[in-house]
Amino acid sequence: MNVRRNIGFPLSAQGVPRAEILRRVEETAKLLRIDHLLNRAVGGLAGGDRQRVALGRAIVRRPKAFLMDEPLGTLDAAFRELMCEELRGLHDRIGATTVYVTHDQIEAMAMADVIAVMNKGLVLQSGTPFEIYHRPRSMFVAQFIGSPSMNFLPCAAGNRQAVSLAGRTVPVPELHEAAPGRLVLGVRPEHVRLSDDGVVRGEVFGVEYMGARQVVTVDTEAGRLRVRTSNTQRASIGEQVGLAFDPGQIILFDATSERALPSALFEREIAHG
């Protein structure tokens, strides 16, 4: 079967008149930018074009909602990025409600209006990508989204504006409730920076150059930490470094319940990041 008949199949199965099928297949193919492939056999198509045909077969029916189950799971990473962008663009053009399931946090962040993080049959948190990433309500959500994932360091309660981390005082966004004794300090790798006058010191364990970015892993007395920096930051393995936290971005979790403690951070709107 060629591309045209593949896309038209759901309509011919429903007994839609031929002229109407022809028109809707053309329209769908244009939307997906595969109108030049309509007379080609599906067998010879590249992986991405095949995926576009499969999408076309769903779109051509004009359903009220799209349900997508990891449609990009089999594609290689570079191509997945491209298709993410394409799917989001397509959604913006069609405007149909879409529920998309994936284990891939990048796909979720890149495409969703709302992300619902699920585990063991429960929705743990649902919100915009911003809320999920910057205002996670639990350690599970915090570590599930983000790569490398959020650093977690055991610490002890101080007053409402600071905690004690490996014997040092670290300022945090003001807490709105009394902190339990055992806490976990959560800080994203991009909110830690190498700095000689940092609050904790440690030894560089690994330096991972990634092109546009770089991840430096540091073993400190408070635990192992990952730091995300620009590709120009120089660090070498074995080197002693200081680490400074962006105090406005720290999230504290109750070590027992793994729940995020409400603080001034959770009141801040998107504009303040």
Binding site: A78, G89, D92, M109, A110, Y133, E190, F205, R213
Partner: protein, 336 residues
């Protein structure tokens, strides 16, 4: 450990040339990663070095000795496969000890035990030695598979996508562990993968391979920053490099240039430069990817953190001259 040298190696399967004119020098103690898409010839290159395939042409030397005609066992290499194959009825200890108990080796049980424990500690599975191999998590199984190669002290380790079947978190951890172990042992490793992050984070040098040919062999920073051609430029970087026809951006390009390459992180949005429209915004958390429509081309920009830009808005795009790469019509990079 030893150096490995391939000279003019070719291997075809029927009409398909898997590896062609492959020259590769791996230094003693070096970690070289071959990076390429499925079908590029990466695994064939490994199998040729291991002796599991015979080349149609060319020579292969390990530690200065020509092994082109030697059987696998005489080459003293250890291979880790993508799909780990452990002996399910054995304990972790026995799985790790197996290569040392070969009748050809005649190691004492004391020495075998000491070596197994040393490697298990290195891989952080020392607490699991008495477990059955089947009672392990995926990550632990893969560590045992890697450990089984490490207990021997072969001249070269060959690794075929050993992390690809693991989940993302575990891969992140094992990447950095494997690099540490390689450095501590001074091991010579040839590692093949299609994952650019694995290549960039672990390799001393990356060999970018496509259609059986080695396109460039250089350090990660060199391959990323000074790619030999457009194919190499596209292979590394996420989001991928912007390759634009000459004339879209103002540039003082060399005469033969046909294409300008700009990494997304080098695209500046703001009040300077040429007019553009923001098509799409992907807030990924630590960074934001912005798709831009320029007169005559689309362009990706990568901005740190949460960028305050909105789809549909107008902006201006500028790229610093030193961030531009120039390529000829045949794809070769030109000196700026």
């Amino acid at each position: 450990m030893a150096e490995v040298r391939l000279a003019g190696v070719r291997k075809a399967f029927g009409d398909t040339v898997a590896v062609d004119a492959l020259d590769l020098d791996i230094k003693d103690g070096e970690f070289v990663v071959l990076l390429g898409p499925t079908g590029a010839g990466k695994t064939t290159a490994l199998r040729l070095i291991a002796g599991l395939e015979r080349p149609d042409a060319g020579r292969i030397a390990i530690g200065g000795a020509d092994v082109t005609a030697s059987p696998p066992a005489a080459r003293d290499v250890a291979m880790v496969f993508q799909q780990f194959s452990l002996y399910p009825h054995y304990s972790v200890f026995d799985n790790l000890a197996f290569p040392l108990r070969s009748p050809l080796r005649r190691e004492s049980e004391d020495r075998i035990g000491a070596r197994v424990r040393e490697i298990a500690t290195l891989l952080r599975i020392e607490g699991k030695l008495d477990n059955r191999a089947t009672r392990l998590s995926g990550g632990e199984m893969q560590r045992v598979a890697i450990g089984r190669a490490l207990v021997r002290r072969p001249r070269v380790y060959l690794m075929d996508e050993p992390l690809s079947s693991l989940d993302a978190k575990l891969r992140e951890d094992l990447r950095i562990e494997l690099k540490r172990i390689q450095r501590e042992l001074g091991a010579t490793i040839l590692y093949v993968t299609h994952d650019q992050i694995e290549a960039m984070t672990m390799a001393d040098r990356i060999g970018v391979i496509e259609d059986g040919r080695l396109l460039q062999l250089a350090s990660p920073r060199e391959v990323y920053g000074r790619p030999a051609n457009t194919a190499v430029a596209r292979r590394l970087g996420s989001p991928p490099i912007n390759l634009l026809p000459l004339g879209v951006l103002p540039a003082s390009a060399p005469g033969a240039a046909a294409t300008v390459g700009v990494r997304p992180e080098d695209v500046d949005l703001g009040v300077h430069g040429i007019e553009a429209r923001i098509e799409q915004v992907e807030p990924l958390g630590a960074e934001t990817v912005v798709l831009l429509q320029l007169p005559g081309a689309r362009l990706h920009a990568l901005m740190p953190g949460l960028a305050r830009v909105e789809a549909g808005a107008a902006t201006r795009v500028a790229v610093a001259p030193e961030a531009m790469l120039f390529f000829a019509a045949d794809g070769r990079r030109l000196a700026a």
